[in-house]
């Protein structure tokens, strides 16, 4: 259900505040569950280490399908990371964001799709390629339920 993800975005800089304790009235007995109540799970905190440099992008196309990234998925990209070979990166190619895997091949860097229908791009052959950020998570919604 996509609702969960919307909450994650909104809370980027303002962590979700959930109650620490269930009983707030001093009179009477405290709830026996109080000692066991945790703050709950905040997906932002769990998935994002650098909130100020993390951006969300929407995936369009099927060239990364073998890496588990499908059309319509939500991509979480951290711009503060240095791209290393093996990582999936967002590159700026001909004025558009393009999703590829950065690969070292015979001593040279290239950008590969994760779908055999798409040829690799040799970095030294294309003029102006900029690595914009490193993809750290993909959020795939399993259709609508409920």
């Amino acid at each position: 259900m996509p609702l969960l993800l919307i909450g994650a975005l909104r809370g980027l800089r303002r962590p979700l505040r959930l109650p620490l304790a269930a009983s707030t009235v001093a009179a009477g007995f405290p709830s026996p569950a109080d000692d066991y109540i945790d703050v709950g799970i905040d997906l932002n905190e769990a998935l994002i280490r650098h909130p100020s440099s993390t951006f969300f992008l929407r995936v369009s196309g099927d060239s990364m399908i073998d890496a588990g990234i499908q059309h319509g998925d939500l991509l979480v990209v951290d711009r503060s990371l240095e791209a290393r070979p093996g990582q999936i990166v967002v590159a700026v190619l001909d004025g558009a964001f393009t999703l590829k895997r950065l690969v070292r091949h015979r001593g040279r860097l290239r950008l590969e799709a994760a779908n055999s229908a798409y040829p690799p791009l040799e970095l030294h052959q294309c003029g102006d390629v900029q690595i914009w950020g490193v993809a750290i998570h993909v959020i795939h919604s399993l259709g609508r339920h409920g």
Partner: protein
């Protein structure tokens, strides 16, 4: 060794934000227009190089912009606000103290290292912000705020400085101060600069060295402090964290003049809705609400009027504020006047927590809680699905007076439906 003050700001902030989230704009000339697509308020360095002037009305230069292939954008405050927060929180770990001064600039305090050289630190910070956010920044370093501001100006003026200028490290600071006209000094207003010019004081070096008694007689302690700051004595402390807001204002110019009272009422209603939302975000209540409207100051028979009402009990409930504000519209409205702008001012703000159980509370506690839950849900829906998802009927359905923002980019960092596309092809 003594602390250093830095003024750190983003170059061409609005245009840079547009370029940061839209890769097709990288390296292309971009300008951003003010409210109602009025004037150029930000130019990318590419647009600057084309000689496009700041502050020029859009309609005057639309053709020139088109001829040069300049990309034109309306002000996208959702994007700039979000990028500003990202910028400020990225700066914080690099400095000892940070004072956010405006949407795109901050003062910072940091200890000077023993060897005295901060150029490596500054270059690394610039590189980091450029890499992580795609924003170019400039850094001015000096012993005081006024000098830091001046150093920042020098850092930006000359490409050779690569966006960093340390006035402390300059062997001869005087020529730099002499390069700075008195009008450009932070804290020198129009009146003081005219006074200086009349006395032959044309630049920052001359103001620094003038007789302080004379300056004091003219500008009092404020003037003396300014002079001390120019001498490198820090007198203006950093203000960390914004002070609690005492007033909240929402006002806009209309895309066309409004003559009908119904339309003015709708406009005021929509500003009340927005102001109440802000108030709830700030966790404050207001005790007084004012409504104002005016015609264009450039047209004959200028008319401007305001009216205010005191709330029986301080509130941040949209319905309560609407009830108080809408009758005021009838008081300020005048037939045959062509209204160009209106606004709402919420005053006598107090923290939410101050009002507990008031004898005069208009609603029983339980109902009060229900109202608050309702407001929360409305705010949540509007944040989640975009402003105006849940609308108050008083605002009208499709207002034609709304601010013109015809070339608005998407809320690329704050709204799920507006995320940039990354191509997998």
């Amino acid at each position: 060794m003594a602390d250093v003050l830095a003024l750190i700001d983003a170059n061409n902030f609005y245009a840079s934000c547009e370029q940061a989230l839209e890769p097709s704009l990288i390296g292309r000339p971009v300008v951003v227009l003010s409210n109602n697509d009025g004037c150029v308020v930000s130019r990318s360095s590419e647009a600057r190089q084309l000689g496009i002037a700041m502050g020029k009305p859009y309609f005057q230069i639309a053709e020139q912009l088109a001829r040069h292939g300049v990309v034109v954008r309306s002000s996208n405050y959702a994007l700039y606000g979000d990028m500003s927060q990202r910028l400020m929180s990225s700066l914080e770990p690099f400095v000892a103290e940070l004072e956010v001064y405006s949407i795109d600039e901050a003062f910072a305090r940091l200890p000077r290292p023993r060897h005295g050289d901060l150029s490596r630190w500054a270059a690394e910070l610039r590189g980091r912000i450029r890499h992580n956010l795609g924003l170019p920044i400039a850094i001015g370093l000096a012993p005081s705020k006024v000098l830091a501001k001046l150093a920042n100006r020098i850092a930006k003026a000359d490409r050779r400085h690569a966006g960093v200028f340390d006035l402390n490290a300059a062997p001869h600071p005087d020529p730099w101060l002499e390069q700075t006209p008195v009008e450009e000094i932070w804290g020198v207003g129009r009146q003081l600069s005219r006074w200086c010019r009349l006395r032959g004081i044309a630049n920052a070096r001359q103001l620094r060295d003038m007789a302080s008694g004379e300056l004091r007689a003219k500008a009092g302690v404020v003037g003396l402090r300014l002079q001390l700051e120019l001498q490198g004595v820090s007198c203006l402390p950093l203000e960390e964290g914004p002070a609690a807001k005492r007033e909240t204002c929402v006002s806009r110019s209309f895309s066309r003049a409004i003559c009908v009272d119904d339309e003015l009422r709708q406009a005021v209603a929509s500003y009340v809705v927005r102001a109440a939302e802000k108030l709830r975000q700030q966790r404050q209540l207001c005790g007084r609400i004012s409504v104002f409207a005016r015609t264009s100051p450039f047209a004959p028979n200028f008319y401007s009027q305001a009216a205010s009402a005191v709330l029986p009990v301080a509130s941040h409930d949209t319905a309560v504020l609407l009830q108080a504000a809408l009758p005021l519209v009838a008081l300020i409205y005048k037939p045959h006047k062509r209204f160009a702008k209106a606004g709402v001012l919420l005053q006598e703000l107090q923290p939410e927590t101050q009002l507990q159980h008031h004898l005069l509370a208009p609603l029983p506690t339980e109902q009060q809680h229900k109202r608050e839950a309702l407001m929360q849900s409305i705010d949540q829906l509007n944040r989640r699905y975009g402003r105006g998802t849940v609308q108050w009927a008083a605002c009208g359905m499709t207002p034609s007076w709304m601010m013109r923002r015809e070339q608005l980019s998407r809320a690329a960092t704050t709204r799920l439906g507006d995320l940039p596309i990354v191509w997998a092809r």
